[in-house]
Subunit: 362 residues, 2 copies
């Protein structure tokens, strides 16, 4: 049977957990959930399915040192930096080429760096089944998540006919990818039962993916050729040359929505993309007043707040509710829970203020 390789896409710049996450230390390095960086958890949860030697990480070039630091188990050559971000289509092509250089018959597992999976054993079973299906069939496998709520923040996959396998996991043909829905539509999807969340995980044999790239994204297929053909040590130069000219496009748009050989595995392993500060309350215990606290907080008549205080800081709450209070370094964020999605905006505003004209105040 073909050998499986994990390629974790860790190029995200998520600043929605600002000031804890920043452009220089994005969400995959957060230790808020599980006490270890999310990226480290992403590698460790592969244990028994894919070893560190066959686990690669694609991140942005400037994050390579920090990435190596939090992943001491990975050979340093397994951490690959992109010269610039060109979305997931380029990253998947790069993943394909990197594996193909090592093993032309390899199975590539495109995985994510900054998500939570509460039931790691269930995830491993699903992934192992997906690898087996990708190895045995001429299909691209994606892992969809059985929805647990009418989420409007994810894209959905509409499943079709059952794909016959011997696996324990349910595999279905992908009928189509659908965009992030409004709430009404999401509720309909949830009730329907045929829809799964698109979690951005794809499993394929390199040759299967190369055929899809050749058909739907020939520029990326050509890039693969150049990388695979590059002499040892020259691959980086190829990236530096080719990347800036690539179109920024997701692999969903560039390939997956067009391919007809897509199969989706139904995953149910407590997945969440912990997309914003309000996720903290979903994944950490709250006190009797519904305050979720990481660090030190004293509260008087305060309820439903999320507090994340750095070591050595004390947050004191009095008569406030539904706030997010987060401190890191010199920054103190005080945000209404309803506005958690806009934290990034404010982070950029502050970035401007600190780099440019002086902020208001005395």
């Amino acid at each position: 049977m073909a050998t499986a390789y994990a390629v974790i896409l860790a190029g995200g710049r998520g600043e929605r957990f600002w000031p804890l996450s920043t452009h220089q230390r994005p969400k995959q390095f957060l230790t808020l959930f599980g006490g270890k960086p999310l990226l480290q958890q992403a590698v460790e949860r592969l244990e028994g399915v894919i070893p560190p030697e066959r686990t690669l990480v694609i991140t942005s070039a400037d994050l390579v040192p920090l990435t190596c630091e939090v992943l001491p188990a990975l050979p340093v050559e397994n951490v690959v930096g992109e010269p610039c971000g060109r979305d997931t289509a380029a990253a998947c092509a790069l993943a394909c080429a990197l594996v193909e250089r090592r093993d032309p018959d390899g199975v590539v597992c495109i995985l994510t760096a900054d998500q939570i999976m509460r039931d790691a054993p269930a995830f491993r079973r699903t992934l192992a089944d997906a690898i087996a299906v990708a190895a045995a069939h001429e299909v691209i496998v994606t892992i969809g998540i059985a929805p647990t709520a009418p989420a409007t923040g994810f894209g959905y996959i509409r499943t079709g006919a059952r794909f016959e396998t011997n696996a324990d996991t349910a595999f279905m043909r992908v009928e189509r990818f659908v965009e992030k829905p409004d709430l009404d539509t999401a509720q309909r999807y949830l009730a329907d039962g045929r829809y799964l969340w698109n979690a951005g995980m794809f499993i394929w044999r390199t040759q299967v993916m190369r055929r899809a790239l050749a058909t739907f994204a020939p520029v990326l297929d050509a890039l693969c050729d150049r990388i695979v053909g590059a002499s040892p040590g020259a691959a980086e130069a190829v990236l530096g040359e080719a990347y800036p000219d690539l179109k920024k496009i997701s692999v969903d748009y560039a390939v997956m929505e067009h391919a007809d050989n897509l199969v989706v595995a139904r995953g149910a392993f407590g997945w969440d993309d912990v997309g914003s500060w309000t996720s903290v309350a979903d994944h950490l215990p709250a006190d009797a007043d519904g305050n979720t606290v990481v660090g030190t907080c004293q509260a008087l008549d305060a309820a439903g707040n999320i507090v994340v205080a750095e070591e050595g800081r004390v947050v004191a709450l009095l008569g406030v509710s539904d706030l997010i209070v987060a401190t890191r370094g010199n920054v103190i964020l005080v945000c209404h829970k309803d506005r958690a999605q806009d934290v990034k905006k404010l982070a950029h505003q502050i970035g401007d203020a600190r780099g440019g004209t002086s902020p208001r105040g005395s």
Copy 2:
């Protein structure tokens, strides 16, 4: 004419501006209003009326060093520490005795350490007139404040017949002192026109006060005798011995409410006791969204907040309103404006937490 001495009562432990003010650094040391400690402003605004050599400060013994530090213009012997707090009756008796030791015919001006007077020249005129009246008549003079709002946080003075003087300031007989009123009563007082705020400022000749003490508080009169009679350097020992046994009582209750020779000067000089965090918005300019900011703050869709950030800190507000956010050292206070009066309670709760069992959180 008799010589005037200022005695500034600075024994307050105000923690209503916590975390900026603390038990060890109470409100009179706040630099929030006017950029200098309120206590220093209290001394400086006497310029031209009472010089630093004749300005004394009574504070608690442990605050003497800090008090001397912020008042370099004062001779160190003018800063007197009480061994324990026994409210204003004891402090006024001490003030009386300290002045009497220097000048048996002195006029004592009991003043406050932690209030704002926006119109210092007007205050000086009122004070000079009050000194002249106290020097010329057998009366205790108090300065009442012409109310500008139906305040429920102050006691009031009901004025009676005009007291004939040649001063520019209006002097009236005090008819009676009244307790902090409820809002309805305060509105009635404001409309009535005969009521002034009791601001805790009293001006008297030592001998006039001694007669009042002998009549209404003989224990304090006896204390005065002991202090006045003590040999140089022995006064401190007298305080240490006598103070712990004194009753905790305000000079209003102990003397002023009983004396029939009280006269009140009508003061109008932008007085405020800046009693809590919400005062910040009354005395400092706000931005277009009604946010009052000291320090560095970036706000997005935030209105009506009060932010006081230490040097080097950035407070980021997103979608919040009517909050007080104040940082000092490791403490970050996030408080609804409506609860500003309870900050002291929370400060004590934190004090307990930091000194005793560990606060909740990881």
